[in-house]
């Protein structure tokens, strides 16, 4: 996983609540057995005027000129400013894979759906939570400034605005630690292998009905 420390990046606005993972990456692209290559199909149904299918040459497809990420001013964008309950719906990790592949490293919203929020951290994306009124204000600042950028300092848990304002945010210590160091949490969990084994042995003794053999 990529490390995340400081990010200064261009901000794109997605001014709509309840953006679901079916929109972030439509189901037809979930047929892939790979983890990469989803970027060109991020927000596929909103981004292109035709119906996308896996295997298409996306560079020749007709773009929707009204869709925010198609506008020239957002080329190179790395921060998505969003509304409440972003990432709701399906648990598909293809959603953060697509966001990351497109170039997003951080999101800012008043709230996220649980599973999506969790999935972001596993893929080096920082989902920042700020109060709804602050997010509102960032939307309005963004709409008035071409090339609007924000700086995110994970170590100190601060978002800095171009005017120099510092907006603090909360993040779980463990997740922060993994993100700052680019750690794979399977390795970390396996450091506690003996604790898991001990728990398991006890459980087999007390609740052996949970350990029915099930093999192919």
């Amino acid at each position: 996983m990529k490390k995340f420390k400081n990010l200064k990046g261009l901000v794109a606005p997605m001014d709509q609540s309840n953006v679901d993972t079916d929109q972030i990456i439509p189901k037809q692209f979930l047929k892939s057995i790979k983890r990469s290559g989803f970027g060109p199909n991020l927000f596929d149904a909103w981004r292109y005027l035709d119906e996308g299918e896996p295997g298409m040459d996306n560079s020749t497809r007709p773009l929707n000129p009204d869709f925010v990420l198609n506008k020239a001013e957002f080329k190179g964008v790395s921060i998505l400013l969003a509304r409440r309950n972003f990432g709701c719906g399906s648990s598909r990790e293809h959603a953060p894979w697509a966001l990351e592949d497109f170039g997003f490293r951080a999101l800012i919203a008043p709230s996220y759906a649980d599973i999506f929020y969790n999935n972001c951290f596993k893929n080096g994306i920082l989902p920042v939570i700020l109060d709804e009124n602050i997010v509102d204000r960032l939307f309005s600042e963004q709409s008035q400034t071409v090339g609007y950028s924000l700086e995110i300092d994970l170590e100190n848990q601060i978002v800095k605005t171009p005017a120099g304002e510092q907006l603090p945010f909360e993040v779980d210590e463990f997740r922060k630690h993994c993100l700052l160091n680019g750690l794979d949490d399977i390795g970390l969990t396996l450091q506690d292998e003996s604790a898991i084994k001990e728990y398991e042995q006890q459980r087999i003794k007390e609740k052996s009905w949970l350990f029915t053999e099930m093999k192919a």
Partner: protein, 470 residues
């Protein structure tokens, strides 16, 4: 101290609590399907790791499988990309010795239908699957939740999940349901009330006399959509209904082990006086048959209502959402729900494809005909065993006589990863769980309803109030 059902389940699975508040939770059961697992198996191999406990896993392909003739098994899948994904699941399960119900196994079906059916879903378990509707299994008082692919790999490798404890919410439905109102209507009414983010960060326990009156199928329908209310997990306490359903299932314990298990399971209820961070109450009598009209499950109304006016909404974010939804659905404010004309009808999905759902729909359509304006009306049983049971009861004949298509089990038009899908602009009465833009096909328009409502809509060509329709 008095504990909630969720507190008890959490406590029982705690391997380790860390100083920072996160915890390692032991996972009893892991269910696997073809879409969210290939990258996890690949990760496992690349790191030179093996599954921690083979017997914890059970797999089946469901999302990509065709529901039409498919006796050739995986070779019946025409789309090469879909075929490869199912083949990859088969290969991974074969390589590691994981129990899988392959495409031509009679036990194959939607993950959330087959596991309860087989008794691999048991009360008191922690259950995960790379699928958000894993909340379904909470109907058995199991701590069941959807996870992402990285977590699938984590569970395969360590038999654990890293989590923080959630808050407790209780949703009480007391009283008696009106005739014609189903479990689906209860859960849609709940989502209409608390919104799609209302349960975020909570484990929701569904309680009250109307919930206790429900069959296991009905309880699964409700827990299934806990995720649409924002909660990763939904729960119902154990009672005789739970015990009777589990008894005799292929992988359920027997003999002395059953006795031990049952006495343990009987304790899986919230204690008297246990603390809930939030309590929501809805009188059962107040719930009418529900129909979703927009592009989020919270955009739902009683069947006798009219569409809202975005301009009348006080919250600007909500107003904007309604406006977009009206445009996408091609609706005008004030339109009556019963005036919505339909193109297709889909009865299936992990929400409503169990035997009881099919019986309910068959009762409505018996001796009637699907309306001429309906292009297609599909019945997709949730599993091979549900299909067989329905055929033994003659339900297939009732449906086919009425003009429905009787299909093979799978996710089908719930998310349209196979060939079953809506055309651009088409309206569908669907017993599934998500009405997001394009969910059932590019440009398609979904209306979430219960099985009786979908069946009656197929006959009339538009929504009708099943309470006063026959």
């Amino acid at each position: 101290m008095a504990q909630t059902l969720y507190d008890k389940l959490w406590q029982d699975h705690l391997v380790q609590e860390r100083e920072d508040g996160s915890a390692l939770i032991y996972i009893d059961r892991h269910i696997i399907h073809e879409v969210t697992s290939p990258q996890a198996f690949e990760g496992l191999r690349m790191a030179g790791r093996k599954p921690w406990r083979i017997s914890a896993n059970i797999a089946t392909p469901d999302h990509n499988v065709p529901t039409t003739e498919r006796s050739a098994g995986v070779d019946s899948i025409v789309d090469p990309v879909s075929r490869l994904q199912v083949q990859t699941l088969d290969q991974n399960c074969d390589d590691f010795g994981i129990l899988e119900f392959k495409m031509n196994d009679p036990r194959q079906g939607i993950v959330h239908v087959i596991s309860p059916e087989q008794g691999t879903t048991l009360p008191g378990m922690t259950i995960v699957c790379g699928d958000s509707h894993t909340s379904t299994h909470g109907a058995f008082a199991a701590l069941a939740q959807g996870i992402g692919t990285s977590e699938v790999e984590h569970v395969l490798a360590t038999q654990c999940l890293i989590q923080r404890k959630m808050k407790n919410m209780q949703i009480r439905i007391e009283g008696t349901l009106q005739k014609g109102v189903s479990a689906k209507d209860i859960v849609l009414a709940i989502i209409g009330k608390i919104g799609t983010a209302g349960g975020t960060g909570f484990a929701i326990e569904f309680a009250g006399s109307a919930i206790r009156e429900l069959s296991m199928e009905g309880r699964m329908t409700i827990c299934n959509m806990a995720i649409e209310a924002g909660a990763r997990t939904g729960l119902v306490a154990v009672d005789d209904t739970t015990i009777n359903y589990v008894k005799g299932r292929p992988f359920a314990p027997t003999g002395e082990l059953w006795e031990q298990a049952e006495s343990n399971w009987r304790q899986l209820v919230s204690d008297e006086g246990a603390f809930f961070d939030e309590i929501v109450e809805i009188p059962a009598e107040s719930i009418a048959p529900q129909v979703s009209w927009g592009v989020s499950p919270e955009m739902v109304l009683p069947v006798d209502a009219q569409l809202p006016d975005p301009a009348q909404q006080s919250d600007s974010v909500v107003a904007e959402g309604y406006k977009r939804a009206m445009e996408y659905m091609d609706f005008k404010p004030g339109m009556k729900i019963t005036d919505i004309q339909l193109d297709r009808v889909f009865i299936g999905s992990c929400t409503n494809s169990r035997i009881e759902d099919l019986r309910a729909a068959a009762t409505v359509v018996r001796g009637k005909q699907v309306n001429k304006t309906i292009k297609q009306a599909l019945i997709v049983p949730g599993s091979g065993l549900v299909k067989k049971q329905a055929e033994q009861e003659g339900l297939d004949q009732i449906f086919m006589d009425a003009g429905f298509e009787w299909r093979n089990p799978g996710c089908s038009m719930c998310l349209a990863m196979n060939a079953d899908r809506l055309g651009e602009g088409e309206h569908c009465a669907s017993t599934s769980n998500r009405n997001f833009e394009g969910r059932q096909g590019h440009g398609g328009r979904t209306h979430l309803v219960g099985p009786e409502m979908a069946a009656a809509a197929a006959i009339e060509g538009h929504f009708v109030d099943v309470r006063d329709w026959s």
